[in-house]
Symmetry: C2
Subunit: 308 residues, 2 copies
C-alpha cells in the first residue's frame, strides 16, 4: 500500500473584479480543510487565481498581461506556499504564466511537501480561437492569449509515486494520458474551467458536457492504469456558467469521489498508488501488447488525410 | 443526411461441437431479420463461425487449424455471401484466417452490398499468452494460435461513408481509433468474445467488465467523432460465460442502441454519417489542435520507460 491522501480543491466562480488576495484566501481555506482531513497533496483548478479571462476580447496587451503571474511564488501566491509548507502539504495549481522573455503560457505547477516546486506543466492543447468569432455565443480566446506549451508531458517522482499534469482541454486527448502512461504515471492531476454551454452547439447541455468530461478522464485512467484527479471551477463566473464536476478516478477507471456542489468544495480521497499495478502488469502491459509499427500516423500526421 | 441503417448481429454462445453450417444458419436468420428492418450493413462478432477456441490448450496443429478458414467465401460461408447479395445487404464478420502461406490471423472482413469483399482487417492487439498458464482460472491463448495483424488499421469508402474495423481487445487501445480517426473514419465496426470473468482477477465482475467495454468504445467514438458498432458474443460457451453487451455508439460518444439479451439478437439503428461532422470540425479538428511534437513516445517506445 502506497497511499496518498489527495484533496481535489474545487473552486466556485471567481469574478472579474475579485482581487487575487481574496482568491488566495479562499484557496487557503480549502488547504486547511484538506490538511485537517489528512491530505498531503491538494490540487486546485486551471487558472485558479483569476476569472477565466480568455472569455474576454482584449486588445490592450497590458490589460492581457495583468491576468498573468510574472513569478510563482510571487506576491499574491506566497501565502499559499508558506501555509502549505507549514502544513506539510504539497500543492498543485494552475495560473497564467508570463516568462521573463515575455512568453505566455497556461501553466500548472506541483510542489513537494516542503513547498519546493518539483514540476511545471504548460498546456499543450489550447482550445478555441485567436480572433474575434461573431458566430459564437461567447468567446474562447485561449489560442490568442497563450502559446502552446513547450514542455511536453513530463512526469516526476514525488511522495513515492510517479506524477504528471495536464490542463482542461488536454484531458480530451488520449495522447496526453498515453505519453505519461509510457513513463509509468500513477497520478495525473488536472484542472479545468469548462463552460456549461457549447458556444457552437446549443443542444449540447450541461449533462452531456459533464458526461464527456467524465468519459475522457475515466478512459484515460483505465487505459493507462493511473489515478486521475480532475478539479473544476464551477458556478456563474462573470455571467458565464462553468460546469463544475470535480472527480477522482481510480486506475480501473471508476469514479471514487466527486463534488456535490458548484462552489468551493474539498473532495478528499485516500489513493493507493499500488492499485495501478494490476492494470499495468496485465491488460495494459504496454511492452507485451502495444504494436507501435501500426501507430505511425499518430506522430507522422497532425490532421486528417482522407482515403482515396 | 447520409444515413446507413446498421444491424449489430449479436450472437449467443457457439458450442465446441456446433458445426459451422448450423452457425451460418443462425447468421442467416439474423441477416434476414436485419434486412427486414431496412439494414444495408450487418456486423457479426469476432470468430463468428466457431466457439472461442483460444480458451482451449491444443498441441496438435491439425486440430488448431480445424478452427480456421482457408478461404472466405468458402464452403461454410458461401450461403452467407449468397443471401447477402440477394438481399443487397453488406456484411462484416470475424473468423480465424489460415493463409495459403500457413499464417494464422484473427480476421474480420467487410463486403459491399453486392457481397464483394471491400476490406480485410487482422487483429493487431492479441490479448492473453502463448504458453499454458496454471495461474489463470482459464486459458486465453490468442498469442499462441494467432500472429499479430500485419495490415495496420486501414479504412475504406463504402456506402458513402469511411469505414474501418478492429477486433475485441483492439477496442481498449486509443491508438486504434486514432489511427483510423486520422483517416477520417466515420464508422468503426468491431466484434468481441469477452469472458464475463477476468481470468486473473476474480473481484472484477461482469458489471465492471461491461463498464470497461462501454467506456473504451464510447471514448473512442467521442474522441474521433465516429460511429462505433460493437458486436458481442454472449451466453455460456463451452461452460464459459461471455459478457454480451452489444452497443451502437454515436459520434458524440452516446450509446444509442444496445442488446437486451445474451443470445442471438439483432440491434438495428439508422446511423447518420453527417453526425460526425460537428466533432471533426470543432473540438476534434485534429489539424488545428493536435501537437504531434509532444507525442513522440507513442511511436518511439513500446513499453514503459520509468523516470529517473
Amino acid at each position: 500500500m502506497r497511499e496518498i491522501v489527495i484533496g481535489a480543491a474545487q473552486m466556485g466562480a471567481i469574478q472579474r473584479d475579485e482581487p487575487r488576495a481574496q482568491v488566495v484566501d479562499r484557496m487557503l481555506a480549502l488547504l486547511e480543510d484538506a490538511a485537517g482531513q489528512g491530505a498531503t497533496l491538494v490540487v486546485f483548478p486551471e487558472l485558479s487565481l483569476t476569472t477565466f479571462f480568455p472569455r474576454w476580447w482584449m486588445e490592450d496587451q497590458a490589460e492581457v498581461d495583468s491576468w498573468f503571474e510574472r513569478e510563482v511564488p510571487g506576491e499574491a501566491t506566497r501565502p499559499l506556499f508558506d501555509r502549505a509548507r507549514a502544513l506539510h502539504v504539497a500543492i498543485s495549481f494552475g495560473y497564467a504564466e508570463l516568462t521573463p522573455e515575455g512568453r505566455h503560457f497556461n501553466t500548472q505547477i506541483l510542489t513537494d511537501r516542503e513547498a519546493n516546486v518539483v514540476g511545471k506543466y504548460r498546456k499543450v492543447h489550447l482550445p478555441g480561437h485567436d480572433e474575434y468569432d461573431q458566430e459564437r455565443a461567447f468567446q474562447h480566446l485561449e489560442k490568442r492569449y497563450f502559446e502552446p506549451g513547450d514542455l511536453g508531458f513530463p512526469v516526476w517522482r514525488s511522495q513515492g509515486a510517479i506524477m504528471g499534469m495536464c490542463i482542461c482541454n488536454d484531458r480530451r486527448w488520449p495522447e496526453v494520458y498515453r505519453v505519461m502512461g509510457l513513463q509509468g504515471v500513477e497520478l495525473v492531476m488536472l484542472g479545468y474551467n469548462t463552460p456549461s454551454v457549447n458556444s457552437q452547439m446549443k443542444a449540447e447541455d450541461e449533462t452531456k458536457r459533464l458526461y464527456h468530461s467524465e468519459l475522457v478522464m475515466t478512459a484515460g485512467a483505465y487505459q493507462n492504469a493511473t489515478w486521475v484527479v480532475g478539479v473544476a471551477k464551477g458556478g456563474i463566473e462573470d455571467g458565464h456558467p462553468l460546469m463544475a464536476g470535480t472527480i477522482i478516478v481510480d486506475p480501473n477507471g471508476f469514479v471514487v469521489a466527486r463534488a456535490r456542489t458548484d462552489g468551493d468544495e474539498m473532495v478528499v480521497h485516500a489513493c493507493d498508488m499500488d492499485a495501478c499495478d494490476f492494470g499495468k502488469k496485465t491488460i495494459f502491459d504496454f511492452a507485451r501488447h502495444r504494436r507501435v509499427e501500426h501507430y505511425k500516423r499518430i506522430t507522422e500526421q497532425t490532421g486528417v488525410i482522407l482515403p482515396e
